[in-house]
């Protein structure tokens, strides 16, 4: 199964729509609640990052019987130093983003904590691709 959603840079009113849709699909697929929470928290963090930092972006989600792979691709300033961006508390967010309750430098570390695999590729002044992989368990199963 493949899903795709556009993400609008700067529009905090719509931030979370894609992650909400992904959550609905995972519930329909009977994925266990703890795994759904890890997936949608990771997804929401990545979605908010695009809204907060990029001009525009999209998420492509591929779900098979064993895993979900979410690719967040944006057009934006990129990340000059990915290692530094992964340090909890490091943030380049604007005051407007902080007023929305984000920009504390917790997003990427929290994705790393929840994901089974996280890959970040970025080019300065072009954009960033964040690939999150999480293995699935069915509700009541293995």
């Amino acid at each position: 199964m493949q899903l795709q959603y556009d993400i609008e840079g700067g529009n905090f009113t719509k931030a979370g729509f894609a992650s909400s849709e992904i959550k609905k699909v995972l519930k329909q697929l009977n994925v266990d609640a703890a795994t759904i929470k890890r997936i949608v928290v990771s997804s929401y963090e990545a979605e908010v990052n695009i809204v907060a930092h990029a001009y525009k972006g999209a998420v492509t989600v591929v779900i098979d019987h064993e895993k979900i792979v979410m690719q967040y691709q944006d057009e934006g300033p990129g990340i000059p130093d990915i290692e530094q961006a992964m340090v909890a508390g490091y943030s380049t967010a604007s005051p407007e983003v902080r007023e929305m309750g984000f920009g504390a430098g917790m997003g990427l570390p929290n994705i790393h904590k929840n994901a089974d695999d996280l890959l970040i590729e970025s080019e300065v002044n072009k954009g960033t691709l964040v690939t999150i992989t999480i293995y699935l368990k069915q509700e009541g199963g293995q």
Binding site: G16, S20, V41, S43, Y44, F102, A104, M106, G107
Partner: protein, 114 residues
């Protein structure tokens, strides 16, 4: 503790979720920073916050938080109420400060997440 009692203790008004007021909560987190809330994995948790915007409700949705209390007389927008109702999130508005709400609920036995 049931949400009914929590609402009474914090003198809160119910904006949506009237039919869910018997939901039990064990824990409370108090924060205006949604980045911090998203790192918490406890079930049966209420969120106490002074941040009244759409992302407060989205954060609750993603974190499976079934009750949000807006403090310091903050008011939910119609869009927030609509989104909370869509996801069965009980949305309350309390005139209490965060300090007072935390104190009252702690004294009544609601636990901290860590």
């Amino acid at each position: 503790m049931q949400i009914t009692e929590l609402a009474k203790l914090t003198e809160a008004q119910v904006r949506c979720g009237n039919g869910l007021m018997h939901t039990e909560i064990l824990y409370a987190a108090a924060s205006d920073l949604m980045s911090d809330v998203l790192t918490i994995h406890h079930d049966g948790m209420v969120l106490l916050t002074g941040l009244a915007n759409m992302q407060t409700i989205r954060t609750a949705e993603m974190s499976d938080i079934h009750c949000v209390v807006l403090l310091r007389n903050k008011k939910a927008t119609p869009e927030m109420v609509e989104l909370a109702a869509e996801h069965n999130i009980i949305l309350l508005e309390s005139p209490f400060t965060m300090f007072k709400a935390c104190g009252v609920l702690f004294n009544a036995g609601v636990q901290s997440v860590y």
